[in-house]
């Protein structure tokens, strides 16, 4: 039982560590970067963290293409929303 535990715990813990490190990076960048650059960097780091969770915790790395497309549907339509809203705002 113990051997089985370690084989499961170790790879998952590396993912957790990567997430915590990225969190630290985001925190650090908040103090180092001016506001404009900070929001871009912060969102990129958040995207990296979300990708780790989606691929490795939510098992998208071993999912069928259909599931991956389903998983991408939300972000895809959100991206359309953001692009259209900002196309309006930035051109006023």
């Amino acid at each position: 039982m113990r051997r089985g535990w370690r084989r499961i715990l170790l790879p998952e813990s590396w993912i957790w560590l990567a997430l915590v490190v990225l969190l630290g990076v985001n925190l650090g960048l908040a103090f180092l970067l001016p506001s404009g650059a900070q929001i871009v960097a912060a969102l990129l780091v958040a995207l990296a963290m979300a990708s780790l969770v989606a691929l490795l915790f939510m098992d998208l790395d071993r999912a069928t293409s259909t599931l991956r497309i389903a998983a991408g549907a939300g972000p895809f339509f959100l991206a359309i929303l953001l692009v259209l809203v900002f196309a309006d705002i930035l051109t006023r």
Partner: protein
């Protein structure tokens, strides 16, 4: 005894796939739900940048950061529960689910304490104190909206994990498909709540702290 697929599914594989498709479709609606609110945030910040970001400086960074660590850890624990079930280490599943629920409760506790401090300091639109500017009001409105709705989602997730822990305790190990499917659905919902916070944290807590 081999499990049979439940109608209308013809095979277990088809059933398993359909269950996952179903939860991912639901998660897509959740992404759009929070996404719409985040779009409002983006517009508010874009149109009232300096006041908005100045107001964000008053958010309690260390509670927000601690809460982020709690949620990320809870995602680890839930993922461990799924992997343990998949690899037959079934005794660990219920304790792991309970541990994840406990971490979620710790998050809500910290959030409650934070809300208490925020109310006392008047950090709500029309509450006086530092919230006099339009951008500041927009920030704090969005803070309460986004974190409040997220907390409701988290509470539902905690309920789901506790219910699942009870169901897993009661369901025979031989009912493999039922066990893993239920676990997978709850786990995916929990991870989404975590992912939402992964984006909320920089938006609400990390703004306006640089040079």
């Amino acid at each position: 005894m081999t499990e049979l697929a439940t109608a209308p599914f013809e095979t277990q594989d088809q059933q398993r796939h359909a269950v996952r498709m179903g939860i991912w479709m639901f998660l897509a609606t959740e992404v759009l739900f929070f996404g719409a609110a985040v779009t409002v945030y983006a517009v508010a910040r874009a149109t009232h940048a300096s006041e908005f970001v100045a107001a964000a400086r008053d958010s309690r960074l260390w509670i927000g950061t601690a809460n982020s660590v709690l949620l990320v850890t809870s995602s680890l624990v839930v993922s461990l529960a799924v992997k343990c079930e998949r690899r037959g280490v079934r005794r660990a599943v219920v304790p792991l689910l309970l541990a994840a629920a406990a971490l979620g409760l710790a998050f809500l506790g910290a959030k409650g304490a934070e809300y208490d401090l925020d109310i006392r300091d008047g950090f709500w639109p029309g509450g006086g104190s530092g919230v006099t500017s339009r951008g500041g009001q927009l920030y704090w409105s969005l803070y309460w909206l986004l974190t409040g709705v997220h907390a409701v989602h988290l509470a539902i997730g905690i309920g789901a994990l506790l219910t699942l822990a009870w169901l897993m305790w009661r369901t025979s190990p031989r009912q493999e498909t039922v066990r893993i499917d239920r676990l997978q659905v709850a786990a995916l919902y929990w991870h989404l709540v975590d992912v939402v916070w992964i984006f909320l944290y920089p938006l609400l807590y990390l703004a306006g702290r640089g040079p």
